[in-house]
């Protein structure tokens, strides 16, 4: 039981740590958007590609980036949970 609890705590700590890194990364990109808007709003008018300006590319990019980060986070957490299940079942067998 103690083995399971300790592993479970490690898994939780791992997920919390990954979550913190990811939220910091996203916050950095998000606040970058805010800073550009108040420091140099005209930059947002600049066409980046295909007739789309920086405001659109950055804004839609923030939405797509959110989904990509979310999927990476889920994949890392699911992998860790699978490892925990394996470890626990092996320890249980012994």
């Amino acid at each position: 039981m103690n083995i399971k609890k300790s592993d479970s705590e490690n898994m939780t700590a791992y997920k919390v740590r990954i979550g913190m890194y990811m939220i910091l990364l996203y916050a950095l990109v998000y606040f970058g958007f805010i800073v550009i808007n108040i420091s140099n709003p005209f930059l947002m008018e600049r066409i980046i590609f295909g007739g789309l300006n920086l405001a659109l590319v950055y804004g839609i990019g923030l939405i797509i980036f959110a989904l990509i980060l979310a999927l990476i986070y889920n994949s890392m957490c699911s992998k860790k949970e699978a490892e925990f299940k394996d470890t626990f079942s092996k320890k249980g067998d012994k």
Binding site: K15, Y26, I34, Y73
Partner: protein, 636 residues
């Protein structure tokens, strides 16, 4: 009243009520009522998150705001979605792992403190009420074009239906209702966008031939002895008013008085542009564009592109275009959109509202600046930062979102349902851009309320699409209000009453107390929904986000991640967060406008309080916790 809209509406509302009564039979315990027995599948819960979140604010408010102020409305989409990152990475799993029915469970986990439960319960009630207001306003806006009922009838309809839903089945029915509506909203919004791309852009939109395009007149004027008069002598000048740096002339022709905006053309000549007006005479009579208001004589729908990439005229149409082409037409500085703004003034005893055209080039439409003055003064820039902060930190602190983490089986399911929510909500928010800009350029905008832009755009493509989208939007309001009422009910039954009673309440008593609370809060929401008619629902939701972010999020984050947090720190942080946010909102320029006062004299210079109230709440929890360190009071 058309038959089809009523039929579709009745089908939707009937299905919602049937679901409620069906699940009511299975809901006997408090866990069933407040947390759907913790047995909802994560995919269903994820879509229900989307249903909860894509409320009146998203569908009605954001689309309306994009249709009137362009990219500034899309900022809400960006911020609302970004908030889910905090929910996913920080709140989702701990919430499921540690909580039971309300977010107070987590705050209180290590302390068993009555003070925490009571303050968290009260803050949940206040946030729920602030979030309910825009939902009710949105419901009122929806029924007017659907049935021709006045705004207050819509508010009362939603209030009564939702009270019935919540008083019967609680969280299970709310979840399934939101799952269905969230899915339908995304599907029908996608269909609406496909219609927009197929139709393309035109400088003289006529709603598919249903409403002929109205060409507004421009007449020459001259300056004679410091007085502006029209060159065409068939117009007789009857008055002139300058308001907020705009000059309007009252002209009379064939006995009809109309208002004209003074402007200067490219050659430097004075011109007068036709406006639309509502004049309330001292006798009470209402004139619209100079004639008595009637079913036939209403304000004209507006919104069109004057030029598409420098081309104008009757034949200027793009034909079918893809989403990238659609956006690129709007970013082009040679595309000119005719937007409309309004001003109120007194003309003798008459109260006049003038709606006047503003021509805006594409490069200004698709970047921040039309509503949030990012090039303006420091306080105007701070207003923008404040909103973006509130949206980022607000989502993970909304009571009706937090309680949805208790409806799934495991913390991993909580995480996965959040990802389903992010994918579906993110996709929908990209669609808001197309729906908003589509409405801006299709001659469908209602001058008195931006909230109906997307449904009215759907109406221009046909009654079925309009009816389906309006019914879904109305049903979405029902679901969101249900979720908020369950959250409020949980706060009262579980956190407030459960704390004060010396004998613990039985399951049945908790459910009963929850239903009584749902009824009472529902009635309050109906009254406030009627009072706040006409305000943009997304703006109102932004305020609710600011209160949630200030009151709840600092407490949740610090409890989870700072070991020195104390009971007094949590209680002080919630109280300071709620009070600061609410007082700042009440003293803001936007509220002064709604009081009928001059917004320039408002003591708080910006409309969203987040930039002050969120850091202040964080500071409070840190300082008070450090000052009240006791051995058994610190989270170990």
């Amino acid at each position: 009243m058309a038959f089809l809209p009523i039929f579709i509406f009745v089908i939707f509302v009937g299905t919602v009520l049937w679901l409620s009564f069906y699940f009511a039979k299975q809901t006997k315990t408090s866990k069933g009522y407040f947390a759907a027995h913790g047995q909802i599948h994560w995919v269903v819960n994820g879509m229900a998150f989307a249903g909860d979140y894509l409320s009146a604010a998203s569908f009605l408010g954001i689309c309306g705001m994009i249709a009137t102020v362009g990219y500034d409305g899309f900022l809400y989409s960006i911020g609302y979605l970004a908030g889910w990152m905090v929910a996913l990475f920080v709140v989702a799993e701990p919430m499921k792992r540690l909580g039971k029915y309300t977010f107070a469970d987590i705050l209180d986990l290590k302390f068993g403190s009555k003070a925490i439960r009571v303050t968290a319960g009260i803050s949940t009630l206040i946030i729920s009420i602030f979030y309910l207001i825009p939902q009710m306003v949105g419901a009122g806006a929806l029924v007017t074009p659907l049935f021709g009922f006045p705004h207050y009838v819509g508010v009362i309809m939603v209030g009564l239906i939702v009270i019935t839903i919540v008083a019967t089945a609680g969280m299970t029915s709310t979840t399934y209702v939101q799952f269905i509506k969230g899915s339908l909203l995304i599907i029908f919004s996608t269909i609406l966008c496909i219609y927009i791309f197929i139709q393309g852009l035109s400088t003289e939109p006529d709603q598919g031939g249903k409403v002929s395009f109205y060409q507004y007149s421009t007449i020459q004027a001259k300056l004679q002895e410091d007085e502006i008069t029209p060159v065409d002598i068939s117009y007789v000048k009857e008055g002139e008013v300058t308001n907020k740096e705009k000059t309007f002339l009252k002209l009379s022709k064939d006995g009809i008085q109309t208002w004209w905006l003074k402007d200067i053309d490219l050659e430097g000549n004075i011109i007068l542009k036709e406006t639309q007006s509502e004049v309330r005479k001292s006798s009470g009579e209402l004139l619209v564009n100079g004639n008595p208001a009637s079913e036939e004589n209403q304000l004209r729908q507006v919104g069109n592109l004057e030029k598409i990439c420098n081309q104008s005229g009757e034949q200027e149409k793009t034909g079918s275009i893809n989403p990238f082409e659609f956006l690129s037409y709007f970013t082009n500085k040679n595309t000119i959109a005719k937007r409309w703004e309004s001003t109120s003034l007194k003309d003798g005893e008459d109260k006049v509202i003038i709606y006047y055209p503003v021509e805006t080039p594409g490069n200004k439409i698709l970047r921040p600046g039309l509503q949030f003055k990012v090039e303006g003064s420091l306080s105007e820039k701070l207003d923008f930062v404040s909103l973006m902060l509130a949206l980022f930190f607000g989502t993970a602190a909304l009571p009706h979102i937090l309680i949805r983490y208790f409806t799934v089986k495991t913390p991993a399911d909580a995480r996965k349902s959040t990802i389903v929510a992010i994918a579906s909500i993110g996709f929908f928010y990209i669609l808001t851009l197309f729906m908003g800009l589509g409405a801006m350029s299709s001659g469908v905008l209602n001058l008195t309320s931006s909230n109906m832009s997307a449904p009215l755009l759907a109406k221009s493509f046909g009654v079925f699409l309009f009816s389906a989208i309006s019914a879904i939007a109305f049903a979405t309001v029902l679901g969101t209000v249900s979720g908020l009422l369950v959250a409020a009910a949980g706060a009262v039954a579980h956190d407030l009453l459960g704390t004060f009673r010396s004998i613990p309440m039985t399951d049945r008593q908790q459910v009963f107390a929850g239903k009584i609370t749902a009824f009472s809060v529902g009635i309050i929401a109906i009254i406030l929904g009627i009072l706040f008619k006409g305000m943009n629902v997304s703006f109102l939701v932004g305020l609710a986000f600011a209160i949630a972010a200030s009151a709840n999020l600092p407490a949740i984050l610090m409890v989870l991640f700072w070991k020195k947090t104390t009971v007094k720190g949590i209680v002080a942080s919630i109280i300071v967060g709620v009070l600061t946010a609410v007082v700042m909102i009440l003293l803001s320029p936007s509220m002064y406008t709604s009081y009928g006062l001059n917004p320039d004299i408002a003591p708080i210079p910006f409309s969203n309080p987040g930039i002050i109230s969120i850091p202040l709440s964080f500071l409070t929890i840190v300082v008070v916790s450090l000052l009240t360190q006791e051995k058994n009071n610190i989270i170990s």
